[in-house]
Symmetry: C2
Subunit: 210 residues, 2 copies
């Protein structure tokens, strides 16, 4: 597919990464996948969406726990026991991500998409971070929680994302060299950061088509 | 000072970060400091340049070793014993960096300048990385060494830079959230990466002056 654009976005919780991904996709006029990706993966595999959501970006302990719960009250899923391992689910989601990125231009948020698509020459990987005080404010506003709750969510969700990424890739979550581009969204603000990332993507596309 | 621009550049060894810093300074028409910074710091403190070069971006073991050597064959420096500790030298260099950035727009490469200038609103911090295979090629060409020697230099010098940075700052070297912007110089190439960073700096300046 000529001039295909695939942008993967890793992000700190509360950084604005999801909003940036959505706006970037709109600006580029291409598809956007985040939670939608899980629904797609679920449809592809024939498994119910809730299974994927339970296991989303969690590893080992958490994932096994989700499975043990799912397995105990969802007897109908017993035949899927083999693929309902951490690695089985990751494999299903990886296949779904590869299928998506193979067929169309898109922005993919989270879920190790940068690693899964590492051999796709169209793929550009971006990591969004932000100052801690801004992240706390965003989460307090978006989720109507206290400052303390926002801090706890940041610690817990970032830890979970890092564990998931570090377990399934040979790279380290949030480390600059794991991505093509990393940016603090507070320096230019959300909208200008979207334009800045777009300029990187378009320049890369221009250079690749020379 | 109105419209002052201070860009600090951290970089993986062999990434092209130094070249990017130099070209960015030329493009912006501002001063550039790398090894020159040490000469400046030396002049400011009255110590000889070689002392700073020996200790440059090394901590603890290495630094003590450099000092022990210097101290044994440079008896003349005995009066400086007090400030010739790790922290003393870092302090001198930090003062020099603050003096430089206070007086003029400049690009500063390495030496924890991003941390030292963290309270300067004009300061923009950038980290340059590159794919391992490109770094090996750059070092083989620039330093006329074998592939194996280039690999060993990368491991040793990056380890040294990380130790120095992690020891003297409350941040982690090479971690995206330690910098405003991190970029893989191989995606757009050196010259386009310089232009891309310039666009970030100019947009930031424009937003700040509104």
């Amino acid at each position: 597919m000529e001039n295909k654009i695939v942008v993967t976005i890793g992000r700190q919780f509360g950084s604005g990464g999801r909003e940036i991904g959505k706006k970037l996709a709109e600006l580029l006029g291409i598809a956007y996948y985040d939670k939608e990706l899980m629904a797609f993966a679920a449809r592809e595999s024939g498994l119910c969406k809730e299974f994927f959501e339970k296991a989303d970006e969690k590893v080992s302990g958490n994932l096994s726990y989700a499975f043990s719960l799912g397995y105990s009250y969802m007897g109908a899923y017993a035949p899927y026991n083999d693929i309902l391992s951490n690695d089985g689910l990751f494999k299903l989601q990886s296949d779904a991500i590869r299928n998506l990125a193979d067929k169309q231009s898109c922005v993919l948020v989270g879920r190790c998409a940068d690693y899964i698509l590492r051999n796709d020459p169209a793929c550009i990987s971006v990591f969004i971070h932000n100052k801690l005080e801004n992240r706390i404010q965003r989460i307090m506003q978006n989720e109507k929680v206290t400052e303390q709750e926002a801090k706890e969510k940041i610690a817990s969700i970032d830890k979970s994302r890092a564990s998931y990424y570090n377990y399934y890739t040979n790279k380290a979550w949030g480390v600059a060299s794991s991505y093509d581009l990393s940016v603090d969204a507070s320096v230019l603000g959300i909208d200008e950061t979207v334009l800045f990332i777009k300029s990187f993507v378009m320049k890369r596309l221009e250079l690749a088509s020379r």
